[in-house]
Amino acid sequence: MSCFGLPLTYTEDLFLNQFPQNDYFYFSIKKGLTTHANLWADVVHSMFDKLYLMIEVIGLTYSYPGSQPLTFPDISCNKGNTHLILGKSGCGKTTLLHLMAGLLKPESGIVEIAGSDISQLSGAGLDKFRGKKIGIVFQQPHFLEALTVQENLILAQKLAGEKTDQGKVNQLLDHLGIGSKKDKKPSELSAGEQQRAAIARALVNSPELLLADEPTSALDDENCNAVVKILSELAIENNSALVIVTHDTRLKNIFPNQTILA
């Protein structure tokens, strides 16, 4: 939502995100304001826009050896906002996600996360940055199989260089409804529970940027809605920017901020 950048409006953003068919309602608020107030709203918006900008991708290109270079459109997403990157398989969606996560190095362009250009970081510094500031949810939930769900979350804290925060782990797992499964091995959980545990792992360090790679494409409608709801709710609670990369057209109508890759 690019109308109000104020914290108070987050709930409203969520509200509108949840009911995209009621987009007109959002515009009617603007319509109802006086021209003067409307102007002010736009000024305030542009001021806070920069302040609340969490990720900005500018002029990004990448090329795999022996194939055409990929050029990506500029993307930006604010704290608490959700941005959808849509595209068919093979159009470089995952590559873009990996570039944004610092897992790949761009040929050119800038990936700026919370004010730092991650293309300037490298080695262990980039790894630490990634662990602390970026949470990633994969289509297939991955875990360290030898560890329990809880231990996986604690390891995520440790590896990011954060202190172990058992309270946060418990709260997050409870919030996701899998608090009772925290001492189980990930393989003992159902597919839905695994996906929620993976979301918990991605969020355990309160990352500034939450990247989701096809989080819903393997799920039925019901689970799809549940996961989308959880992701966007938690992104708002954590004040994270959420970027979802998907070919799942069901999401198209849920999140208005979209970039379509060709």
Partner: protein, 491 residues
């Protein structure tokens, strides 16, 4: 959740893979450790029983056998040497010899050898009295500490020896007075701990009486005797004058005999003598039987034996006064000019050690080979785990771990396996030593400590860690080079 714990959990999550690697590694380490420990224990036992003995004089035969029999008490005697030939070496006046200790073997009590000797014998091993006193009179014994413990012998106990050197109880000498335990020795760590010690005369007596009653029994090496005394005995047809054949003993022993007993005795005696190729002292048993206390006094001293020309002993342990050209020539002179054989313990033991060393070394080489093969097995196991865990490794990078972190993780896994393997290997080698100790104990009455931790075992831990590290290095490098993006985008 540090890497030490994480690597351990990763390993424990696949217990079968872990077990395979650990067992193989343990076998290798165990065998190598077993080699080191066997080597050490054998060397220790051989060394501690050298007891400063320069020469063993025994009947002609295998010099190694003579040493093993008379110093280590694990083999049969090469035969007997007559006192006539032995006496020159036993004389305290001998200019070359500081100490000459006669050894007379032939009997055991429940597998523990009864050694007829002099008071110099315990002194060789610096053995001290723990309870009671040293033996003084005939049929008194002093018992080595471990023999006393295993046989449950205390001061004042009585027992009959059995014939032979093994514990097979072929038969018991129950027709002579029993041995009486007069003292128990403190532990020395040497072979004397496993011996029952008495004076030489007691061993002689047992065998004379024994032989006359059990002439059909086969004997493996005790006191042979001069032909003439038997013939003499026989021709005299049990005239108990004995003036002729006992002229050497006459001053020392009273000669009161039971006639009827002597009759049968001498009869059998000669018979026995003809039957077997060795005979017995001319009625010595009778004299000893009726020793007066006065006569027996000092029977544990070497001087006491110098007049027993007709008897025989098994060997003499010799300590030189000093080493010079004469002592250097002494063994050769004995070997050439007498019916006896001189054997040098240090030379024979080195030879023995060389021979055994080859076998022990073979165990060690096998151990090292297995350890190296198990290193390969760790390598393969870790390498396989990489492809299985590629998502995990990529995920760890996503969660903030550096390349070095992954490298460390895999190295730690290799080290854990080697530590577990080492510990299990130590258990295996201790079990092996326990088995060896049991065999040595039952076969030779030697006690070895199977749970000793020697310096080489500590060194092995280092070797184990090195093997574990080397085995893990290549997988660790591969892990650290995991291409996260490629891994995560591969479905």
């Amino acid at each position: 959740m540090n890497f030490l714990k994480l690597s351990l959990k990763n390993l424990l999550y696949r217990p079968l893979n872990l077990t395979l690697s650990v067992v193989l590694f343990a076998l290798g380490i165990g065998l190598v450790s077993l080699m080191f420990n066997l080597n050490k224990q054998i060397q220790d036992q051989l060394d501690s029983n050298l007891a400063g003995i320069d020469l063993v004089i025994a009947a002609k035969g295998s010099p190694l056998q003579a040493i093993l029999c008379n110093m280590y008490h694990i083999d049969n005697p090469t035969g007997n040497i007559s006192m006539e030939e032995a006496i020159p070496f036993l004389r305290p006046a001998n200019p070359l010899i500081q100490k000459a200790v006669p050894i007379s073997l032939g009997d055991n009590y429940k597998g523990y050898r009864i050694v007829g000797t002099t008071i110099d014998f315990p002194e060789l091993y610096n053995a001290e009295i723990d309870a009671g006193r040293m033996w003084e009179y005939d049929f008194e014994v002093t018992v080595g500490s471990s023999a006393a413990r295993h046989l449950n012998l205390n001061v004042g106990d009585e027992f009959h020896g059995s014939h032979g050197l093994g514990g097979d109880d072929m038969h018991v000498h129950d027709y002579v007075p029993p041995y009486v335990v007069k003292g128990i020795l403190k532990p020395t760590g040497a072979v004397i701990d496993n011996l029952i010690i008495t004076n030489t005369a007691s061993v002689w007596m047992v065998h004379h009486d024994h032989d006359h009653d059990h002439d059909h029994h086969h004997h493996d090496g005790h006191h042979s005797d001069t032909e003439h005394s038997h013939a003499h005995d026989h021709s005299h047809n049990h005239n108990h004058d004995h003036s002729h054949d006992h002229k050497h003993h006459g001053e020392h022993h009273s000669h009161a005999h039971d006639h009827s007993h002597d009759h049968s005795h001498n009869h059998d005696h000669s018979h026995d003598h003809n039957h077997h190729d060795h005979g017995h002292g001319p009625g010595c048993g009778h004299h000893h039987d009726f020793h007066t206390a006065e006569d027996q006094k000092g029977s544990n001293k070497v001087e006491h034996l110098l007049d027993f020309h007709g008897e025989a002993i098994t060997a003499i342990l010799v300590k030189y006064r000093g080493r010079n050209i004469q002592t250097l020539n002494l063994p050769r002179q004995i070997n050439q000019n007498t019916n006896m054989m001189a054997a040098s313990p240090s030379y024979e033991i080195n030879r023995l050690f060389d021979m055994m060393g080859t076998g022990i070394e073979a165990i060690g080489i096998m151990g090292w080979i297995i350890a190296i093969v198990s290193g390969f097995s760790i390598f393969i196991s870790l390498f396989q785990s990489l492809s299985r865990r590629k998502y995990e490794l990529a995920l760890m990078r996503v969660m903030g771990s550096s390349r070095n972190g992954l490298f460390t993780l895999i190295i730690l896994e290799g080290l854990w396996i080697s530590i577990f393997g080492y510990l299990a290997g130590m258990v295996l080698s201790r079990l092996g030593m326990l088995g060896v100790a049991g065999m040595v104990e039952s076969g030779y009455r030697y006690q070895i400590n199977p749970f000793e931790f020697i310096g080489e075992d500590g060194m092995l831990l280092g070797a184990a860690l090195v093997i574990g590290f080397i085995a893990a290095v290549i997988p660790a490098v591969f892990a650290s080079k995991t291409d996260i993006a490629k891994t995560l985008s591969s479905k």
